[in-house]
């Protein structure tokens, strides 16, 4: 029963929470320090650890006949039978691995495109645009975020569909003789993803580039480096924290995205996000959905860990750059 599993999960979380608190507090820290950290742990526990544990519990259950979860009579026997791994086994089928792979490369492509567009944009904004015009342009980057993401994605449907704005333009200028099928394709999903995530690439990059000491760029030029070499050897390394932050901020949400692929993609662009959503909303297979969601979360955490490692190496030099001051980009992680 769902209630039973929930109670189990809650108990597990309750058992884990103090343990996690102990680990979080540095050795020798007094009760006062721990008390100060309590609200943070409470939030983390309530909104991250508890749901995670619940999800883990659900993913180990079996689907009930009418959706929901099938009650488990003998927990020990159930665990011994290995049936709790059924959903995970199911997720390894070629069909689902294919979807996972597609999600991965679509997220990677989105991140790459955001970087390709966002870096020059942030660079121009931070280093070339006169200060008094910067506020306006930064505002234009942020303004779309004031509107619901859903509405903005619907707007893209109007642009991309057969009788849409773009096709109308192509037909009236004679660039196309008949409407091109653009909506419900893979590229449409990529366009939607890049459009949605771009601000999250530009902003951290801008923050990093804006702090850059310009005389370092002049010094590089003075020492003989051409424009490309200055960017490659000075600008990018010094903007690395912002760059990593931008990549994480774009890649992670893209990986779990389901609204864009749902609205702009066709049947062939199902992503992990859609698959998970379908398990809960359509297929009513909660254990399988939970297993997929748990796997996705684990993958993201692994990737973040790898990124932090990579950044750890970067942080060592970044620490060098700003005299031990922690790079702001990392705080976003």
């Amino acid at each position: 029963m769902a209630e039973g599993s929930e109670r189990d999960g809650g108990a597990a979380a309750a058992r884990r929470r103090p343990a996690a608190g102990d680990r979080g507090a540095p050795a020798g820290a007094g009760w006062g320090t721990m008390a100060l950290a309590l609200p943070a742990w409470l939030v983390l526990g309530l909104f991250f650890l508890l749901p995670l544990v619940l999800m883990l519990g659900v993913s180990g259950a079996e689907r009930g006949v009418y959706g929901g979860l099938r009650p488990i009579g003998d927990l020990a026997a159930y665990l011994r039978s290995g049936a709790f791994l059924a959903s995970y086994r199911q997720s390894l089928q070629a069909l689902y691995l294919g979807i996972a792979w597609r999600s991965l490369w679509m997220a990677a492509l989105t991140t790459g495109l955001c970087l390709a567009i966002g870096f020059p944009a942030a660079y121009a904004l931070a280093l070339h645009v006169p200060r008094r015009r910067r506020g306006l342009l930064l505002g234009l980057v942020v303004v779309p975020l004031w509107t619901s993401f859903l509405i903005r994605t619907y707007a893209w449907m109007f642009i991309l569909r057969s009788e849409g704005l773009l096709n109308h333009l192509l037909l009236s200028t004679g660039l196309a003789s008949r409407p091109l099928p653009m909506l419900y394709t893979g590229p449409a999903v990529i366009v939607g993803l890049v459009y949605g995530e771009l601000p999250f690439m530009i902003l951290p990059l801008y923050a990093a580039l804006e702090r850059l000491d310009r005389t370092l760029l002049e010094a590089a030029a003075d020492l003989g480096a051409g424009r490309g070499a200055v960017v490659r050897r000075v600008t990018v390394p010094l903007a690395l924290p912002g760059l990593v932050a931008g990549v994480v901020l774009v890649f992670v949400p893209s990986l779990g995205q389901f609204v864009v692929s749902d609205l702009l993609g066709g049947a062939h662009t199902m992503l992990l996000g859609n698959l998970i959503q379908n398990q809960f909303a359509v297929a009513r297979n909660q254990p399988f959905g939970a297993a997929l969601a748990f796997e996705l979360t684990a993958a993201v955490l692994l990737l973040l860990g790898a990124g932090a490692r990579l950044g750890g190496a970067g942080r060592k030099t970044e620490g060098a750059t700003v005299g031990g001051r922690r790079a702001e980009g990392w705080d976003l992680l």
Binding site: D213, T215, L216, E218, A219, A220, A221, D222, L223, G224, A225, G226, A229, R233, V234, P237, L238, T317, E318, A320, T321, V322, G323, G324
Partner: protein
């Protein structure tokens, strides 16, 4: 000095180059930072551009470096026109005011940064390492090559910046206030170091500083700048002893200025002038071109003046020993240790500054000079120490 350099077989032989500026002007919008400067910096000299902040000296240096484009005029380096050559292709290197060391690179990587862009062959790895070591040795920074800039002391950072620029064997080394960020003691040590370095490598050093003492102490030659123009170019001695303009006289040491009227020639190289205060003097006339009727200023440095206590004579004049004397009223004496600065007011109400060695008075209490705030005194100087200036 230059012959000694040759005798030592300095590495700069054959790549020594001067800098030639012709009517160089740089405008930033409405502001003219550099206003028609024509200047020849001879090869192999340690040449200083000195002036107050905002006088355009750093802009001039950046124009030579290629970090700014001249609005008009021509920049020549080693006889070649570099006016439209970008910074990364000019045979000069700049030591930035705050050194601009790359924070993400080690000392060795900083010094090696530009080696791969040198014209001709890109040095091999071993050769590059050798150059880095040589450059670091030149500035006496061996053994620190794996440190990061933030791990260096205040005295080590300018050395890395120097090594980084010198490793590329520039024809001219440009230095933008390289010592301004250092404390007094370190600055003086680094001044000696800079001078030694310039003699060792033998190339032209073009140095920008706002510190006139630093310019005088270091340079073979000094150009004093004000409001985008060059006021005077000369050796430190010429600049200090024979300033040509009121600005130079004031900038190189608080000068006392009087309006002077030329009465006529008075023997070889001397002019007879009358000060507004009524004093008539015969003074050296280093300006043969100056028309006698041109309005002039007479300057006397504070340390060339003496104060005599006691009742003043009825009027200004010269005493028996030929000393000029003006009646003044003492306003204040500021004891500064080795010297005492006296502020006095003359009959016209103008304030004058006198630097006098502090008297070896009694062990305690006020020195027995007889000078009190409010007391009358005579301001005296040898007329030969007067300098006539263009207005």
């Amino acid at each position: 000095m230059s012959s000694r350099r040759q005798a030592e077989g300095s590495p700069a032989d054959g790549r020594r180059a001067g800098v030639d500026l012709q009517a160089v002007t740089k405008r930033f919008g409405e502001v003219t930072a550099v206003d028609g400067v024509t200047l020849a910096v001879p090869a192999g000299e340690l040449f200083s551009l000195v002036g107050p902040s905002g006088c355009g000296k750093t802009t001039l240096l950046r124009l030579v470096a290629g970090l700014e484009w001249a609005s008009s005029g021509r920049v020549r380096i080693g006889g070649r026109d570099m006016t439209s050559v970008p910074a990364h292709r000019r045979p000069v290197n700049l030591v930035f005011q705050h050194y601009a060391l790359f924070p993400h690179l080690t000392v060795a990587e900083n010094v090696a940064f530009g080696l791969r862009y040198r014209e001709g062959s890109r040095p091999r790895r071993a050769e590059a390492a050798g150059r880095v070591a040589a450059a670091l040795g030149l500035v006496r920074l061996d053994g620190l090559d794996r440190r990061y800039p933030h791990q260096l002391s205040g005295g080590q950072r300018p050395r890395v910046a120097l090594a980084r620029a010198l490793a590329l064997e520039p024809q001219v080394l440009l230095l933008d206030e390289p010592l301004a960020a250092l404390d007094q003691e370190l600055r003086q040590a680094m001044q000696l170091e800079l001078k030694r370095l310039q003699r060792t490598v033998g190339i032209t050093f073009l140095l920008v500083t706002h510190d006139q003492q630093e310019a005088l102490a270091l340079s073979d030659r000094v150009a004093v700048m004000s409001q985008g123009r060059i006021e005077q170019v000369g050796t430190p001695l010429e600049i200090f002893e024979h300033p040509e303009t009121a600005f130079v006289a004031t900038f190189t040491g608080a000068a006392n200025l009087w309006d002077a009227e030329v009465l006529g020639a008075a023997g070889e190289g001397r002019l007879r002038v009358r000060l507004a205060a009524g004093l008539e003097l015969e003074v050296p006339a280093p300006l043969p071109a100056a028309a006698p009727e041109a309005p002039l200023l007479l300057a006397v440095r504070p340390e060339k003046l003496t104060l005599r206590a006691g009742a003043p004579p009825a009027a200004a004049g010269t005493d028996l020993a030929g000393m000029a004397a003006l009646p003044v009223t003492v306003e204040e004496g500021i004891y500064q240790g080795a010297r005492t600065v006296w502020l006095v007011r003359d009959a016209a109400g103008e304030r004058r500054v006198v630097h006098q060695p502090s008297p070896a008075g009694p062990a305690r209490g006020a020195p027995a000079t007889g000078l009190q705030p409010g007391s009358p005194a005579l301001l005296c100087w040898d007329p030969r120490h007067s300098v006539l200036l263009r207005r």
